[in-house]
Amino acid sequence: MTREEVFKTLSEVFQDVFDDETITVNGTTTSEDIEDWDSLEHINLIAAVEQEFGMKFTMGQVVTMKNVGEMADIIISQI
C-alpha cells in the first residue's frame, strides 16, 4: 500500500467515525482540524483504524501521535 492509498483509506475511516463525508486527511491533519476529534472520540477512531488495516497501535503510540502523518507512518510500518 502506498502512502497516498493509506491516506485515502484513512479519509474513509475518518468520514465514517465522524459521520462527515467531507473529511479528507493528509500528513499534517491534527485533532485541531476536525471538530469532533476530542479525547472521547480518539479511542473510537484508533479502534476503527486498527480494524480497517488489521494492525495494532501500542499505548505509547496512541498517546503520543501528533498528526495523521505519524499515524500513517505507523500503519505503513506494520502492514
Binding site: I43, N44, T64
Partner: protein
C-alpha cells in the same frame, strides 16, 4: 517552617535556595535542588513520613531499571505491574481504606445495625501523596510503553519525584516532557528569574488578597448553614468558587513562577476555567494535569481492554453504531469520573461533587445537544453569537458551583441539605440590604474583594489574547515598575497574612 508557600520562613528558605542555586557550579544544581527538596519535606511536617516518597522513588527506579535491562515482555510487564500495585496499594491503604470502612458502616446503619461493623484505621498520611504517586506512576508506565527515557541515576529519579515546589500541590509532572530539564545546567537568566518572580507576586495576590477574603464569607455560611439559607448559600458558594480557584491557581502561579526562577518550565494547571462554555471544556481548563493523567492512564487503557472492546462491539450490534459507541464511552467515563472524584479524597462528597456529578453533566450534555441545537435553529438563534457564548459560560459556572457545594460541605448529606435550603428560601433581598456585610467582611473589605476580582477578571480577559507579562514587558520602564510595584504593595498592604493571622493552607495540599 510549615509547608505553605505564603509563610515568611518559607520565603526566606526559598530566597536562600535561589541565591545559592546560581552561585554553585551548574552541574551541581540538580543535586542542590534534591537536597533542598529533602530539607523542605523534612521541615514541612512529620519528617519520618519522607520514607514514603523515598520508597516510591526507589520502587520506581528499581522497576525502570528492570524494564530497561530486558527485552522479555513478560518481565517488563511484571516489573511495571509490581510498581503500580505497590504505589496504588499504598495510596489506597493510606487514603481510602477508611472510606470503604465508613461506607460499609453507613450501609449497615441503614439496615438497622447500631454499632459499627468495621473499625477504621488511623494512618499518618504523607504530604502530597496523591501528587507524587501520580507523577511517578505515569513515568513508570511511560517507560513500559517505550515513550519515556529510563533514568539510570536513582538520585535523579528522586528529584523528579520529590521536587519541592510541586510535591505538595502539583502540577502532576510527566517525565517524558518535564523530567530531563531538571538535570541540565541553568545559567542565570535575568528575564526568566524576573518573569518567575512576577508570576509569584501574581500568585500571592490571588491567594492572600482574594482567596483569603472569600474564606471569611464561605466559612461563616458553610459553618452555620442552618442559619444562612437561600441567597446566603448561593453567595457563599460563588465566593467558594473564587476562593478555591484563586487558592489553587494562585498556588500554581507560585509553583510555576518559582520553577521559572530556577530555569524550569512546569506544565500549566489552569487556563481561565470559568470562561469554559461547557463541562468538558471546563475540565480541559481546570486542574489540567490531573485530567490529562486520568485520560492517558485510566480512560484510554480502560477503553482498550478486551472487555471494553467486546462490549463496544456488542453495544453497536444491539443499539446501532452511534448509540452503541456512546454507551460504551459513557460507561468508561463513569469509571474515569469516579476516579477523578475519589482522587480528591475518600469521601462521597468528593466522589459526587468532583466526579459523578460532572459525569452526569457531560452525559446529559452529549444526549441533549442535538435537541438543544434544533431548539436554537427553531428560534433562529445564531449559536456563534457572543451573547450565546456568555450564556453558556454562565450556565457552566452555575453547574460547576453545584459541584462546589459538595466539595466544600462537611459531607454529602450536608451538601444535599444545603442545596435544599438554597432553593426553598427566597431571600434575595439580603444581597442589597447590607446583610452581606455581616458575614465576616465589612463594606470596605467587600469592596477590596470586588475590586480585586475585577482586576483578576481584566487580566484573565487579556490572557485570552497574549501573555500579560510579555505585554507589560513591552511597556516603558517606569510603566513596568509602576504596574509590578503597585501589585506588590497592593498584595503586601491588603493581603491577609503574617504574625497573628492564621492564613489557611493551600486547599489542594490536603489531597
Amino acid at each position: 517552617m510549615g509547608a505553605t508557600f505564603t509563610s515568611f520562613y518559607f520565603l526566606c528558605f526559598y530566597a536562600c535556595i535561589l541565591i545559592i542555586y546560581y552561585l554553585i557550579p551548574p552541574k551541581t544544581q540538580w543535586v542542590f535542588l534534591l537536597l533542598s527538596s529533602i530539607a523542605y519535606y523534612l521541615l514541612s511536617g512529620n519528617g519520618i513520613l519522607i520514607l514514603y516518597p523515598v520508597c516510591a522513588c526507589l520502587a520506581a527506579y528499581a522497576g525502570i531499571r528492570i524494564m530497561s535491562g530486558t527485552d522479555n515482555l513478560k518481565k517488563k510487564r511484571a516489573a511495571m505491574a509490581g510498581v503500580v500495585l505497590l504505589l496504588v496499594g499504598s495510596l489506597v491503604m493510606l487514603k481510602y481504606v477508611n472510606f470503604g470502612i465508613n461506607t460499609v458502616n453507613g450501609i449497615a446503619g441503614i439496615f438497622g445495625s447500631e454499632e459499627a461493623v468495621l473499625t477504621g484505621f488511623k494512618f499518618m498520611v504523607p504530604l502530597g501523596i496523591s501528587f507524587y504517586t501520580f507523577s511517578i506512576l505515569g513515568y513508570v508506565i511511560d517507560v513500559y510503553n517505550g515513550i519515556a527515557v529510563p533514568q539510570k541515576n536513582f538520585f535523579k529519579t528522586a528529584l523528579y519525584g520529590m521536587y519541592f515546589p510541586s510535591i505538595l500541590s502539583g502540577p502532576i509532572l510527566r517525565y517524558r516532557e518535564d523530567g530531563e530539564q531538571f538535570f541540565t545546567h541553568h545559567p542565570f537568566n535575568y528575564r526568566e528569574v524576573t518573569f518567575g518572580l512576577q508570576r509569584m507576586v501574581w500568585g500571592f495576590f490571588k491567594t492572600l488578597v482574594i482567596s483569603e477574603r472569600m474564606r471569611f464569607v464561605v466559612d461563616t455560611v458553610y459553618g452555620n448553614y442552618g442559619d444562612y439559607p437561600g441567597a446566603y448559600i448561593w453567595l457563599a458558594t460563588v465566593c467558594y468558587a473564587f476562593q478555591l480557584y484563586t487558592n489553587f491557581s494562585g498556588c500554581m502561579d507560585i509553583v510555576l513562577g518559582m520553577s521559572q526562577t530556577f530555569g524550569l518550565k512546569l506544565p500549566e494547571n489552569f487556563e481561565t476555567p470559568f470562561f469554559a462554555k461547557n463541562i468538558s471544556e471546563y475540565w480541559r481548563r481546570w486542574h489540567i494535569t490531573l485530567g490529562v493523567w486520568m485520560k492517558e492512564y485510566v480512560f484510554y487503557p480502560l477503553l482498550r481492554t478486551g472487555v471494553f472492546t467486546r462490549l463496544s462491539k456488542n453495544m453497536r450490534e444491539r443499539f446501532g453504531k452511534k448509540r452503541g459507541k456512546q454507551l460504551t464511552t459513557f460507561l468508561a467515563m463513569f469509571v474515569l469520573w469516579f476516579s477523578v472524584g475519589i482522587w480528591h479524597g475518600g469521601d462521597w462528597k468528593y466522589v459526587i461533587g468532583s466526579g459523578l456529578l460532572h459525569w452526569f453533566y457531560i452525559v446529559s450534555g452529549e444526549l441533549l445537544t442535538p435537541f438543544f441545537n434544533k431548539f436554537m435553529e427553531k428560534l433562529h438563534i445564531d449559536p456563534k453569537k457572543r451573547w450565546v457564548d456568555v450564556l453558556r459560560m454562565l450556565r457552566t459556572f452555575f453547574l460547576v458551583n453545584i459541584g462546589f457545594v459538595f466539595f466544600r460541605a462537611d459531607s454529602a448529606a450536608d451538601a444535599f441539605y444545603m442545596l435544599k435550603g438554597a432553593v426553598s428560601v427566597w431571600n434575595a433581598v439580603i444581597l442589597f440590604d447590607g446583610s452581606v456585610f455581616t458575614l465576616g467582611l465589612d463594606f470596605i473589605e467587600f469592596t477590596i474583594a470586588i475590586v480585586s476580582l475585577l482586576i483578576l477578571f481584566a487580566v484573565s480577559v487579556m490572557q485570552q489574547k497574549e501573555s500579560v507579562r510579555e505585554r507589560i514587558e513591552k511597556k516603558k520602564l517606569p510603566v513596568r515598575w509602576i504596574i509590578w510595584y503597585a501589585l506588590l504593595f497592593y498584595t503586601i498592604l491588603l493581603g491577609n497574612y503574617g504574625p497573628g493571622y492564621s492564613a489557611a493552607e493551600f486547599i489542594y495540599q490536603g489531597f
